[in-house]
């Protein structure tokens, strides 16, 4: 057995046998599902009903609001036009009502556009303000139309609601929620790759620091070249990462199969279901769930998974060379913080770019550029893949990633080679630069 494969094997076994690896592999999917369910539960919980007093001196709007009252709605409107405004304001201060909507009497309804007040102790939510403004604006428009002697009913009938059916060029019909699914899947995998790079990069760094502090490194590099040791370490650790990912994929697929069985989805392509049927199916919840699961199966799962593995390997190799060099340069983990910051930055940047740009415009310039730059491409490109990326872009991005990996490894191994034999004080950036030239 060649020496480098010995090192790879040892690193792999050391990582996989570690208790935290086992716990993380099997516990984190549970944790993830648990958090998702918890967040879902929280957001479905109803807030307390808030009472809103309405003092409408025009008498135009109060019914619009009262008619919106229902058991489910968060806000309950009460018509208190008969009561004195001053008294109402006082009772707001005493917290009897959440707020008071005061619509003063005006000569011309046009003036109402900026005379209506909402008085409350706590500033109201943006959603509430917008909703209230909409109701009033709508009614005001109607009133204006009537005053212009236009037939409001005819106008209402003339208004149309449009529902665009999303269809891909390949002929598949998509569900409306698909884009959200793509965003979620892209975000999930982008985030996952960042976590993997940080977690496994840190593992490499810790293992380098361990070897350096307990000085076993001297025994080992009297038998192998530092470069072999570094590469063996990086590869061995990455295999542990891939194993963990594969376990998650299997768990995920099993869960998806289970969900499919539960909702009775057949896993064939969507094309053979006519759009009308789909529309009908959307009526009920089970139908919707069915659609979503079906759409999950229709995502480019294979390209996402293969993309994940390729970008994980490339991104991880690139970053873990930095991590290995840092581990070699310092004597303990506390000293590493200063050097880690510039590594974390591009990772954070890619996640932000991913969440703010890719989601809005997956094929826009910024998204494309960042999915080419090697330090950010693993995350940004992975977020783009669910939306479909031309193969040549992936090819360029992957080649750039691996080319820069080889360049970085050359530099990192120089620092590593010198660093692992240097004990004592924490090196400065300047010294690291000097090591490159030894």
């Amino acid at each position: 057995m060649s020496i480098i494969s010995l090192i790879i094997k040892r690193e792999f076994i050391a990582k996989v046998r570690n208790k935290s690896f086992i716990v993380m592999t099997f516990l984190s999917p549970l944790l993830f599902v648990g958090i998702a369910v918890f967040v879902g539960y929280l957001s479905s919980m109803k807030a307390d009903t808030k009472h809103i007093a309405i003092h409408d001196e025009t008498g135009l709007f109060v019914n619009e609001f009262i008619s919106k009252n229902s058991k489910e709605s968060e806000y309950k409107y009460i018509d208190l036009t008969l009561m004195d405004v001053k008294f109402l304001k006082d009772s707001i201060a005493k917290d009897s009502y959440e707020g008071l909507l005061y619509i003063p009497k005006v000569a011309n309804v046009k003036e109402l556009e900026n005379k209506i007040q909402f008085i409350s102790n706590n500033s109201p939510s943006i959603v509430f303000v917008e909703k209230t403004q909409n109701i009033i604006a709508h009614k005001l428009t109607e009133t204006n139309l009537e005053m212009a002697h236009l037939d409001t009913l005819a106008i209402k009938n003339a208004e149309s609601q449009v529902n665009i059916n999303l269809t891909k060029a390949t002929g598949e019909v998509s569900v409306k929620g698909l884009n959200e699914i793509k965003i979620a899947i892209g975000g999930l995998f982008g985030y996952l790759i960042m976590m993997f790079i940080i977690i496994y990069g840190n593992m490499v760094m810790r293992s380098v620091i361990e070897e350096k502090t307990n000085r076993i490194v001297e025994i080992i590099i009297s038998s192998v070249k530092p470069f072999q040791l570094m590469m063996g370490k990086i590869i061995g650790t990455s295999l542990a990462g891939i194993l963990q990912f594969l376990i998650w994929v299997i768990i995920g697929l099993v869960l998806m199969f289970a969900a499919s069985m539960f909702f009775g989805v057949d896993m064939g392509p969507t094309t053979n279901i006519p759009p009308e049927l789909m529309h009908n199916a959307q009526q009920e919840f089970a139908g919707t769930a069915q659609m979503y699961i079906k759409e999950l199966w229709n995502l480019p799962i294979a390209s996402i998974l293969i993309g994940f593995v390729i970008y994980f390997i490339g991104g991880y190799f690139l970053y873990s060379s930095f991590y290995a060099a840092i581990g070699a340069a310092v004597d303990n983990q506390t000293d590493s913080q200063q050097f880690l910051l510039p590594i974390i930055m591009p990772l954070m940047l890619s996640v932000y770019v991913g969440f703010f740009t890719v989601i809005n415009d997956p094929h826009g310039t910024i998204a494309v550029v960042f999915s080419m730059i090697p330090l950010t491409s693993p995350i940004v490109m992975l977020m783009r893949i669910p939306f479909g990326v031309p193969w040549w872009q992936i090819a360029i991005s992957v080649s750039l990633l691996f080319a820069s990996f080889f360049a970085v490894v050359l530099f990192a191994s120089k620092i590593y080679r010198i660093g692992i034999l240097m004990y004592g004080k924490k090196p400065t950036w300047k010294e690291l630069y000097r090591w490159l030239k030894y």
Partner: protein, 307 residues
């Protein structure tokens, strides 16, 4: 006696700092070679170069007649001064791993390990983790790792540090046994008494330069002080001292003696020992007459402080 290792005009610099300045050494086959020098003298740099951990800037190393090359790692066993093993790995696996790194097959490594574990009485440690062992126990494992692949050249950097006297003795006996089996041992240490006890050759490196090298006995001859320790019973001490100070330099000495004698340290100068004896016997009863042999300790201190 042919040499197993020749270091020829080796220079090593770290930036502006010269760690080894044109150092040449010859280590004879089958010797125990003491590599001495104060902290920071360049010993570790030299050992790292011999182990191919770093490369010299110039000069060359000849191992057993061949220029040093990567395949030679399996002929060398190295016990670094700063010891360490993977703390969470099991002893057996760890030894197998490190032995395979040195080019042994798994089966060979297993066989050798069984032999050494048996020999040192540590069979029960196979499945223990290093972190469960005491420091001395871990050192023993490391010693085994170092000698496992039957290297021709063993390099021990402070091999006895961390051992209690009993285990230090066990290791010392093993080192001597390895020498008997034909291995050459380079021994880097600050403990002069173990150099005195074990080494037949020494070299002293100070401030990146080699100052002394040779057979221990030759080096001692070179540092001969021509000084004798004398014990004498005399009725006429004043007369004795008068005679002595005429010809020699006289000082106080202290050594153990059964007699209530006068203890002197006498430097001969150009005279012979017989002339001293003649002077002494004329004035009293000689109870003690020993040539003062310079200890390695003295040589070390003298050389380092003179340079």
């Amino acid at each position: 006696m042919s040499s197993i290792l020749e270091v020829k005009k080796v220079v090593k610099r770290y930036g502006d700092y010269v760690a080894l300045n044109d150092v040449s050494l010859t280590v004879p086959k089958g010797s125990i070679y003491g590599l001495l020098g104060p902290n920071g003298a360049g010993k570790t740099s030299l050992i790292r170069i011999i182990n191919q951990i770093t490369l010299p800037d110039s000069g060359e190393i000849i191992l057993d007649g061949e220029r040093l090359q990567p395949k030679h790692v399996q002929y060398i066993g190295y016990l670094p001064e700063e010891r360490g093993l993977y703390s969470t790995m099991k002893v057996g696996e760890q030894c197998l791993y490190l032995a395979q790194m040195k080019g042994l097959t798994k089966a060979e490594a297993k066989k050798q390990l069984d032999y050494w574990f048996d020999r040192l009485g540590i069979q029960g440690w196979w499945n223990k983790k290093i972190q469960e062992l005491s420091k001395g126990m871990a050192q023993k494992i490391q010693f085994v790792v170092c000698v496992l692949h039957k290297p021709k050249l063993l390099i021990f950097d402070e091999p006895f540090s961390g051992f209690d006297p009993v285990n230090a003795n066990v290791i010392k006996d093993e080192i001597l046994a390895l020498k008997e089996e034909g291995a050459t041992i380079i021994f880097s240490t600050h403990r002069m008494e173990s150099v005195e006890e074990l080494c037949d050759h020494i070299a002293l490196i100070h401030k990146s330069n080699k100052l002394i090298e040779g057979k221990l006995i030759d080096v001692k001859r070179q540092f001969k002080m021509n000084t004798y320790e004398v014990g004498i019973l005399s009725d006429n001490v004043e007369g004795l001292m008068y005679d002595l100070t005429q010809k020699f330099t006289v000082g106080q000495a202290s050594f153990k003696s059964l007699n209530d004698d006068l203890k002197l340290e006498i430097h001969l100068g150009d005279s012979t020992p017989n002339e001293l004896l003649n002077t002494l016997t004329r004035r009293g009863q000689v109870t003690h007459f020993v040539e003062k042999v310079p200890s390695v300790h003295d040589i070390f201190i003298q050389t380092v402080s003179n340079s």
